[in-house]
């Protein structure tokens, strides 16, 4: 038994060490791009294997822990896996492989400069994501949260054009600013009130604060984790669209925004505890803020002609589904939220891959220029169609699952505002995704058949297949999600 525990901790250590070592190797391989890319791919495959091994352990009931450093009494840098973090890490590690594959095609296809630093920062971002997902307390979570913000800044500003630098400024100032001004005080406050920063199922705050104070503290957390892009702290996300497409995929699917909603969900479950949230009503206000974000973002997306901008606002809306679920604070809602993290990740990465693929092959960025493009790039736009269906929440795609549970939770709580938000936003989602599909497939093509580079096509086909497979075989994410709420 002892040997197994050691083994678990070692695996956990490797989940962080692999991307860290990959970063060092990538930085030294500036002159050998082929070996450099091989390092990225090998590291991502190894990380996937490690994370899968950890997943089986967690499903078997193990909760691996790893103590990294004692900072001060009661303040440790420590990792501890729980099912929610496991789910997030599994999604990120899986998508890192396809994203790397896609990056190689995209970066070479578009002859992007500064590729070494690009792959290095990418690996650091994965390192930070693993640390964040596995963090055992709020202090550790905060440290990795900030590393993630810092490591993605060079990626957002990769093109180094004035527009990219402006976007990077908005990006970093919003994310870091909110975390310093709101998230950090919230963490200190929690520590003072609860006497600990450790995550525990059922929370650490029950009975420690009045209802009003709880609501305020929850607000500090929700807006402090600006990566979740809850309005009004959402502008950094559309601004960051200037980055290369693999970076958008990283931001929207693999790591960044997921880190935001993961943080909120984790705090709802393991700091407040869903029962405390439920009985105190500390999250009731958030139903309305998240609902507003969902509808407003969908309306903006409806009017956006730039494809990536439309996708960005779609992300803002989809993220707030997860926030809405956290606000509903019931076991069913949490399951829905966790499933939606996985579903949105795999679908949105498909959509961005397709957008980048269209850009690489045709240099098309506007929806109005996409007439007949589905006939010329059937694989790309076929994948896009699957991703779009998943965004709307139609079976047989993964997006249906999470949405179904969240809707179930909303009706279960008789929260008719939340129910109507979900219904209206589904209609809006259809209204801004379906015209793209009709334009791409029904209008006549104005050129020969021409797909994007092969690695990109492979990547987006894989993720599109994943979007469908996740619907058909949801057992692993579903079991992890049920374990979060003790099922």
């Amino acid at each position: 038994m002892n040997g197994l525990a050691l083994n678990d901790a070692m695996l956990l250590g490797w989940a962080l060490a692999l991307p860290a070592l990959a970063t060092l190797a990538i930085l030294r391989l500036d002159r050998w791009p082929n070996i450099r890319e091989a390092v990225t791919l090998i590291a991502s495959v190894l990380l996937f294997a490690v994370v899968m091994a950890l997943t089986t352990r967690v499903l078997a009931g193990a909760r691996p822990e790893l103590h990294l450093a004692s900072v001060a009494p009661g303040l440790t840098l420590a990792l501890k896996i729980d099912p929610l973090g496991m789910l997030f890490a599994a999604v990120a590690a899986t998508l890192w492989i396809v994203n790397s594959l896609y990056s190689i095609g995209y970066m070479r296809g578009n002859e992007e400069p500064r590729q070494t630093i690009f792959y290095a920062c990418f690996a650091i971002a994965i390192f930070a994501t693993m640390g964040l997902a596995f963090s055992g307390n709020l202090f550790t979570l905060f440290v990795f949260y900030e590393i993630l913000s810092l490591s993605t800044y060079p990626l957002v500003t990769h093109k180094q054009t004035p527009a990219a630098m402006r976007a990077g400024r908005v990006y970093l100032l919003t994310l870091i600013g909110a975390s310093m001004v709101l998230l950090l005080p919230a963490i200190v406050w929690t520590g003072l009130v609860a006497g600990t920063l450790d995550f525990r199922t059922g929370g650490i705050l029950s009975g420690k604060l009045g209802d009003g104070a709880l609501a305020l503290l929850f607000a500090l957390f929700v807006f402090g984790a600006a990566k979740a892009a809850v309005m009004p702290l959402h502008r950094w996300l559309p601004a960051a669209m200037v980055a290369p497409t693999p970076v958008s995929a990283l931001l929207h699917a693999v790591a960044v925004v997921k880190a935001g909603v993961f943080t909120i969900l984790k705090i709802a479950v393991s700091v407040f505890g869903i029962e405390t949230l439920q009985t105190s009503g500390a999250s009731e206000w958030l139903v309305y803020v998240a609902g507003f974000t969902i509808i407003a973002a969908s309306v903006v997306a409806l009017h956006a002609d730039d494809l990536k901008r439309r996708l960005a606002y779609s992300t803002i809306g989809q993220l707030s589904y997860i926030v809405l679920a956290a606000a509903l604070a019931s076991p069913v809602a949490v399951i829905g939220a966790a499933l939606h993290i996985a579903a949105h990740a795999v679908s949105k990465i498909t959509l961005f891959f397709a957008a980048g693929s269209v850009y690489t092959a045709e240099h098309v960025t506007k929806i109005s220029q996409m007439d007949g493009i589905g006939r010329r790039m059937p694989w790309t736009m076929g994948a896009f169609a699957i991703g779009a269906l998943s965004m709307i929440g139609l079976p047989p795609t993964a997006g249906f699952l999470g949405k179904w549970f969240i809707l179930d939770a909303a009706t279960g709580a008789a929260n008719w505002f939340a129910v109507s938000v979900i219904v209206v936003s589904t209609v809006l989602n259809a209204a801004y995704f379906l015209p793209i599909l009709t334009r791409a497939f029904l209008r006549p093509a104005n050129g020969p058949r021409q797909e994007a580079p092969l690695p990109m096509v492979i990547a987006l086909t894989v993720t599109a297949a994943g979007t469908v497979l996740l619907f058909i075989f949801p057992s692993v994410p579903f079991r992890l999600a049920s374990m979060i709420v003790g099922g």
């Binding site: 905060f142 400024r169 310093m180």
Partner: protein, 490 residues
């Protein structure tokens, strides 16, 4: 042999180095002497710490004379901690000081003064004699006035003069206080003063002595509202002198204040009735908010850092005022951490001034693109000034918050967090300009700082992060020092 004489060797190394540097008259030779002397000092300080940890309090009789007649150097967990800080920072500063931009005939004098200043600061720290502390205080102060006056800008002269006046008043107040203590107890040895105070009935003279000493040292450590001299002194002094002053000078004054507050006056009942703790909390809070807010509106980065220092001193004195083990540990740890982070910050701005000739924020747009390491060090130091988790500044503030809770002052914890938000503003402003603005002329023409500037700067920035993640060593030292201070009168 060497081991027994460590306390005096610690002072002799920089003192003799100063003499040699003055005689050498050659800039490079003087620098080499200063480097060797400070390396020796750093080694001795570490050896001394090691001895204190192994053997406990060390009492060293200068010239073999017993305390009543002679001078005693007395080193315990408190000053061993301070001495190590000075030794290491002084050594790193000397590496950095290689590129001081001064007229050639002045360079040797510059290193002489730097060494004298270090000798004076170390002397204040190790001595167990109230008057001897005054002598060393004057050695460090006089050399500091000279150092500031060596600044390139003519305003340096005004700044030096301003500090000369204030510093002299402070030293005079201190010596008046010591004189009163001598009248009461008939001795200058701190240990004997403490012993004899116990036997003294209520004495108004004692309260007056305390008032003079606290105000006198308060001037030296720039305790709010006695701080007006500091921003100009830091802003116009030569860069490497600013590093030394910002990281060590005020810290030693704080040490002296702690020594008097806890060891000398702490045990005496009458003095306890003066609500010094509450007064000090009030002044610390004022320092944490008012000068920090002023820092937000400065354009010269050196002045931003100087005003920030005033605020950070407030956190340290807050730790002293809390006077419980956790709070005092926090204060002393912040003293240590702040010395390192502010050293890194002043080194970074020194390197920027060397490469661009300006420290004005509006002229330094985009400097991060041409001097990424330097700007990175400045950013790390800035994050530590805010108290971001993962940097040392968070750990010390965390102890302070715990200490406030222990003292039953929850509102203080809130104010500590609130005041940190001001640091977000002034650090955020710098970070925004140096990284996110289009490079201005100064930035386009600059190149990365030379290696001898980068090395000590990056070491300090590196330990600022390291001690934010693994604070066992500095926190252990600070907590041992806090316990020694609170262990009531010896």
């Amino acid at each position: 042999m060497i081991a027994t004489h460590l306390p005096v060797l610690l002072i002799l190394a920089p003192l003799l180095g100063a003499v040699l540097a003055a005689l050498s008259r050659n800039g490079f030779a003087a620098w080499l002497i200063a480097l060797v002397a400070s390396a020796l000092t750093a080694t001795f300080s570490l050896a001394l710490l090691w001895r204190v940890q192994a053997e406990g309090v060390i009492s060293y009789r200068l010239g073999g004379w017993a305390p009543e007649l002679g001078i005693e150097y007395r080193i315990d967990a408190v000053n061993a901690f301070i001495v190590v800080l000075i030794g290491i920072v002084a050594f790193l500063t000397m590496i950095f000081a290689r590129r001081s931009v001064l007229a050639p005939e002045r360079i040797a004098w510059f290193y002489t003064m730097m060494l004298l200043c270090v000798a004076g600061l170390l002397g204040i720290s190790v001595t167990g004699d109230a008057f001897n502390a005054f002598v060393f205080l004057e050695i460090s102060s006089l050399s500091t006035y000279t150092l500031i006056a060596l600044g390139r800008d003519r305003r340096a002269l005004v700044a030096a003069y301003q500090y000369l006046i204030v510093g002299t008043i402070g030293a005079t107040f201190y010596v008046i206080g010591v004189g009163l203590l001598y009248l009461i107890t008939g001795t200058l040895n701190l240990g004997l003063i403490v012993e004899r105070l116990g036997a003294i009935e209520s004495s108004r003279a004692l309260i007056v002595a305390e008032a003079f000493i606290v105000v006198g040292i308060g001037l030296k450590l720039a305790l709010f509202p006695l701080h007006a001299w500091l921003p100009n002194a830091y802003a116009y002094a030569p860069s490497s002198a600013a590093v030394l002053l910002a990281s060590t000078a005020t810290k030693v004054a704080i040490y002296l204040l702690a020594r008097f507050l806890f060891t000398v006056f702490g045990g005496h009942v009458d003095v306890g009735q003066v609500p010094l703790g509450s007064i000090l909390i009030g002044l610390s809070l004022a320092a944490m908010f008012i000068p920090s807010a002023a820092a937000v509106f400065q354009n010269d980065i050196k002045r931003v850092l100087a005003f920030s220092s005033l605020g950070q001193i407030g956190y340290i004195t807050l730790g002293l005022a809390l006077a419980n083990p956790t709070g005092l540990t926090g204060g002393l740890l912040h003293l240590f951490n702040h010395a390192l982070m502010k050293g890194a910050a002043f080194m970074a701005i020194g390197a920027i001034v060397l490469r661009t000739g300006t420290a004005k924020l509006d002229e330094l747009s985009g400097i991060g693109r041409t001097m990424p390491w330097t700007a990175g060090a400045l950013t790390v130091a800035g994050l530590a000034l805010i108290g971001v988790p993962g940097t040392s500044g968070f750990v010390s503030k965390y102890y302070l918050i715990l200490g406030s809770m222990e003292a039953g002052l929850g509102w203080l914890a809130i104010l500590i967090v609130a005041s940190s938000l001001i640091a977000v503003l002034y650090v955020g402003r710098i970070v925004e300009v140096i990284w996110f603005r289009e490079p201005a002329l100064a930035a386009r023409e600059a190149s990365e700082a030379p290696g001898e500037l980068l090395l000590p700067m990056l070491i300090l920035a590196g330990v600022t992060i390291y001690f934010g993640l693994d604070a066992e060593w500095p926190a252990g030292l600070a907590s041992a020092a806090a316990q020694a201070l609170l262990g009531v009168a010896r």
